[in-house]
Amino acid sequence: MSDLTVEPVGPSLGAVPSTRRPGRRRRLLKNAAWYVLLSALSVIVLFPVWMILMRAISQPISYLSAGQPPRPVDPEWDVFQRAFTQGDLGRRLTTSAVVTVIITVAQVSTAVLAAYAFAFLRFPFRRTMFVVFMATLMLPIEVTLIANVETIRTFGWFNSYQGLAAPFLASAFGTFLVRQGFLGIPDDLRDAAELDGFGHLGFLWNVAIPVTRPIIASFAVISFLSAWNQYLWPRAIVTREAWDTIQIALPKFASENINELNLGFAAAIIAAVPILLILVFFQRHLIRGLTAGAVKG
């Protein structure tokens, strides 16, 4: 797992000195060219975001009349506050946050437990069981949608946290990832733990989890991200506005306010903020999680 360094933003590349030394002038020119190219690419990537920001803060009709310039027109700075209140975004964000936290905590817990069983315990049909787990990766929620909605209805869990979270409380991907981490624990560490008199729970809690914490954290971030972004499932089992998650509420709110288009855009920006914060604070984990599968899965 760790034989490929996954640190795109790390300085490791700079460690190897260049074998040739081109002229300083030429290198400067070359660097300048790269900066120009990278800046151009940045503009392309960020352009949609910039446009929606301008539309959010500009008075909609004035903005259209002004020919949609890349600067605000008649800015209304209170638009975010108005979107927040009128769209009841606090409530939507809370619903999303609660569901996301439930799913993330549950997925991490169930995955760690299952991964431990697969990595350290001997039991009959272990391989078969592992295949059974991995088989669920082949089965997107879209396939089982009809039956799962029916199940949730039978449980009476429409419009509830348990309904929103239930199908996502376990993760084969997480199990796989954490198991890989556990398998990387050196045998002597296990032996030492056994000598220290640790049982399975003790070993799991005091050794296995701390050692694989980076992997677990990466999985947690990925789990959080996908739970937060869910759309189809809440769309199918939420029948009351009060239970709308932010992703569901967003397009609805935008189409309900056609005479104030900027409100919808402001709401979209507000909805992106939590994930933006995750990106800023957990960038390393996020990147490791996203690339985990790419590195010799």
Binding site: L64, S65, E76, T154, F158, R240, K252, A254, S255, E256
Partner: protein
């Protein structure tokens, strides 16, 4: 004008019919259709609509209302509920928005039927009437009126009560009626040498006007149309044709097949396709919350559009910017835009105002407790009061179908003195023109039928398919849907 039945007489007739139907239901030969909640045997209206249960309830009864209103209409509805909640202690109404489209709400309602997860009141599209009546999940309003000795419905316009009745039994309990208007840019008309006080009266005239506007180089595509299938229904009903057989589902027999493949449909589709081919018409897909056509009109990229009369407030607010923002509940100044929009009657296939009713109606469900049904009925009576109906008109743009309301000084002043009032008066007059003998379709598998019409319209306008082809296919789909429906209600 067409013949008009005396309202009181009509009320009596529908009550008599309600009684007949009840007798039949209690007789047990169609127990399925009678409310499953009520059992089927019992003593008539009071059993199905226990209006007295509210008095016996201990503590306030909570009821839920589902709707799809947004913007001003949403605010009107909530204001009414708040007023009701604060003026009595017996009932607490909770208003829940379920999206911005009637179709979305119907989907949710259907989802809720197997588990009984339904609201106490559903404000749904009027086209759901037959399906809901067949679903056995609603209490017909006529039954409650009988049980309660309520005569409020006598005061409603007869066409309205007709339209919402199944076999003469009034189903929904309150009505937010709208019709369709032609919105047009007066300046564009003038620039093309057309009389802005004489808007086109038929779809063919719309094409003519558009041709003149295009020729004068005013705009490139003078007509922008939101391709909603229900416009098709309006045009067909207005032309005396329908979507299904058995007199568009309202006859005495059984509805067995589609009737979409008729002369009027061909004429309509031919005209729309020609207008598009000539570059007169810009069709926009009829998705939920489509707003392109409003902006095309507002930004003067187009000269005419056809939309529901409830859009009056929105259009007036968005396009003209000369309303007091506070009146709209907005806390910012709309920039003044120099654009001169007016509204004219719905351009039918053969004459102006040949359309039908549309809008949202209030269905009472029977899946709640007796107290809830009684509470819902009590709230509906409150909403039906003439002053409350006036509020719907003044703030929500729905038409004053209660005659006392329409005649009130407040409404007369509104019509005479304000721009939205003037436009809504045009819509109200159009309503008087609706033929009570031919009020529009009544179809069980309405969702499927509308989907078929939508597909035909989309195929024609966006899919590059031919008129005959799409109409024949839709007709076959509708027939299939009706057969399945008759068959599936096994």
């Amino acid at each position: 004008m067409t013949t008009r039945t005396h309202p009181r007489l009509l009320g009596l007739v529908s009550l008599a019919l309600a009684a007949t139907l009840l007798a039949a239901a209690c007789g047990g030969d169609s127990g399925e259709e009678a409310a499953p909640g009520g059992g089927g045997d019992g003593d008539g209206a009071a059993e199905l609509c226990p209006v007295d249960a509210l008095a016996e309830a201990d503590g306030p009864v909570d009821i839920t209302l589902w709707h799809t209103y947004v913007g001003l209409t949403n605010r009107t509805l909530n204001a009414l509920a708040d007023e009701y909640n604060s003026t009595q202690d017996a009932v607490r109404v909770r208003v829940e928005n379920q999206g911005a489209a009637y179709e979305e709400l119907l989907r949710k309602y259907r989802q809720g039927i197997p588990s009984g997860d339904l609201p106490t009141i559903g404000v749904m599209e009027d086209t759901n009437t037959q399906f809901l009546a067949d679903s056995g999940t609603i209490v017909p309003a006529a039954v409650c009126a009988e049980a309660d000795g309520y005569d409020g419905y006598d005061d409603f316009a007869p066409g309205v009560v007709d339209f919402y009745s199944v076999d003469g039994v009034l189903q929904p309990a309150s009505f937010n009626v709208s019709t369709v208007l032609l919105y047009y840019n007066r300046d564009h008309f003038e620039q093309a040498g057309l009389d802005p006080d004489d808007p086109p009266e038929t779809l063919a005239e719309v094409a003519e006007y558009a041709r003149a506007i295009k020729a004068a180089g005013v705009v490139d595509r003078p007509v922008v149309l939101n391709m909603q299938p229900w416009f098709v229904e309006f045009w067909l009903t207005g032309a005396g044709e329908g979507l299904v057989d058995n007199d568009n589902g309202r006859g005495d027999g059984e509805t067995t097949a589609g009737a979409f493949d008729n002369e009027a449909t061909h004429r309509l589709f031919d005209q729309l396709a020609t207008m598009r081919d000539e570059g007169l018409l810009e069709p926009v897909p009829g998705t939920e919350g489509q707003f392109d056509h409003y902006f095309a009109l507002g930004l003067q990229q187009a000269s005419m559009t056809i939309e529901t009369s409830t859009a009056v407030t929105t259009i007036n607010a968005v396009l003209e910017g000369n309303l007091d923002p506070a009146e709209l509940g907005l806390d910012f100044e709309l920039p003044p835009i120099d654009i001169n929009v007016d509204a004219g009657p719905f351009p039918g296939l053969d004459a102006a105002n040949q359309g039908q009713l549309g809008g949202g109606v209030w269905y009472l469900t029977n899946t709640g407790t007796d107290e809830q049904i009684a509470a819902a009925w009590d709230f509906v009576k409150f909403v039906n009061e003439p002053e409350k109906q006036a509020l719907w008109h003044l703030e929500g743009s729905y038409l004053p179908v209660r005659q006392t309301t329409a005649q009130s000084q407040e409404i007369q002043d509104f019509w005479a003195n304000t721009r939205p009032g003037r436009w809504l008066k045009v819509a109200y007059d159009g309503l008087q023109n609706v033929d009570p003998a031919h009020p529009g379709p009544l179809i069980g598998p309405y969702t499927e039928t509308r989907a078929a019409v939508r597909e035909a319209l989309d195929g024609l306008m966006f899919g590059g398919r031919g008129v005959d082809d799409v109409i024949a296919e839709a007709d076959a789909t509708i027939t299939q849907a009706i057969e399945d429906y008759n068959d599936e209600n096994f």
